[in-house]
Structure formats: structure tokens, C-alpha cells
């Protein structure tokens, strides 16, 4: 199993451009998440999904959009990129069933985005 994969690894955008960060998981997890991580700031939740067709906002959703058409894929769309969106973006997934392991998250390697 590849686990959680993200593309691209690095990207430089100009202000006002748009892009989609791709995320795929092959663990048949029902929950998926997008986080951003700024230096010294920990992980901030952008959006999450509890299953195909269902998404919800996290702590910092402004400037982003998501969709979940399949269990495996959870792309993050940036419209009109701004310098404040310069960050490292992580996708994660978890199986939210029963038992002690239900909150464990598995992360992708991240996408480092710079907006100039």
C-alpha cells in the first residue's frame, strides 16, 4: 500500500493564480483531512470529509475549496492565491470506526507552496 500520496511536492504560484493540490489514499479510510502548517504554528485544519460527497469546514477554510467524489481522492483547490497561503499543506486520512484506533491519522508527505 502506498498510504497517502500528495502531488505536487513543491509549487510556486503568482498572486491571483489558482491550483489544485491532489491527495489520494489507498487504505479505504472514510475520513480525510487537509491541514496547513506554518513555522512554529502547528497544524491547522482547513477542511475535512467524513465520506464521499460530504465535506465540512475546519479552523481556517477561507480561500480554499474541496470536493470528495470518491473514497480515495480529496483534492484541495486554491482560488486567487495570496501570499498568506504560503505554507506546507498536508493531507491525512483515518478510519473512523469503533475502537481505540479510530482517531489515528495517516499523513502524506506534504506540498510546499510559495505564493509570490
Amino acid at each position: 500500500n502506498a498510504g497517502v500520496t500528495q502531488t505536487p511536492k513543491f509549487r510556486i504560484l503568482k498572486i491571483g493564480q489558482s491550483m489544485t493540490l491532489q491527495c489520494t489514499q489507498d487504505m479505504n479510510h472514510n475520513y480525510m483531512y487537509w491541514y496547513r502548517q506554518d513555522p512554529g504554528m502547528g497544524l491547522k485544519l482547513i477542511y475535512y470529509s467524513v465520506g464521499a460527497g460530504i465535506t465540512d469546514k475546519g479552523e481556517v477554510p477561507n480561500g480554499y475549496n474541496v470536493s470528495r467524489s470518491t473514497t480515495e481522492d480529496f483534492p484541495l483547490r486554491l482560488e486567487l492565491a495570496a501570499p498568506s497561503q504560503t505554507s506546507v499543506y498536508f493531507c491525512a486520512s483515518s478510519y473512523m470506526g469503533q475502537g481505540r484506533f479510530r482517531y489515528e491519522q495517516y499523513f502524506g508527505p506534504g506540498t510546499r507552496l510559495t505564493v509570490t
Binding site: G42, L43, Y103, Q105, Y106, G108, P109
Partner: protein, 105 residues
């Protein structure tokens, strides 16, 4: 959102020394996870604790969940340079800001 506070924010020690990092909250948690993140990579799950007073060992790492399930600690014995990284605790809906651990050779 359940807030998690981690301390210290930064920790730098010599190889061979011991260290402890803490994760505290005013809320009770049904479970708590610890992750390690190395530079340029995503966080990797280390352990889940669910029972008050639970102690779990992972080689030189010892994790403890407080009796009241509001706090947790991670103790590393005889730290190695490979232990360098950002250590994050997480509850069901939030992550702490992390402790950056640097182990010097």
C-alpha cells in the same frame, strides 16, 4: 475544539541524555495520539493511549496518559540524534503546537 498545550516549545539536549515533553488540556480525552515529524516530511503516528494511567513503551520512548485523561507525557531515554524532530500530541479534533526536539551529537 479541545485545546492541547505542549511544553516546552523547544528542547535541545546532548546525545545520551533523557528528555520529557508534556501535553496538557483542561478537557478530558477519550484517546490521545503522539506523532513525530521529521524535517520535510509528514507526521508519523507513534502511539495511541486511551486508558487513564496507561503507560506504553516503544523502545526508548515511554508514553503516559494521566489518570484523569487530561494530560500525557513522552519520555525518551538515552536520546539519539535520530530522535530529532517535532513531537505532536493530538486529540480527536485538534493538535498541539508541538515540541521541537534537537539531539546534538
Amino acid at each position: 475544539t479541545q485545546l492541547l498545550e505542549q511544553s516546552p516549545q523547544f528542547l535541545s539536549i546532548q546525545e545520551g541524555e533523557n528528555l520529557t515533553v508534556y501535553c496538557n488540556s483542561s478537557s478530558v480525552f477519550s484517546s490521545l495520539q503522539w506523532y513525530r515529524q521529521e524535517p520535510g516530511e509528514g507526521p508519523v503516528l507513534l502511539v495511541t493511549v486511551v486508558t487513564g494511567g496507561e503507560v506504553k513503551k516503544l523502545k526508548r520512548l515511554t508514553f503516559q496518559f494521566g489518570d484523569a485523561r487530561k494530560d500525557s507525557s513522552l519520555h525518551i531515554t538515552a536520546a539519539q540524534t535520530g530522535d530529532t524532530g517535532l513531537y505532536l500530541c493530538a486529540g480527536p479534533s485538534s493538535f498541539g503546537a508541538g515540541t521541537t526536539v534537537t539531539v546534538r551529537a
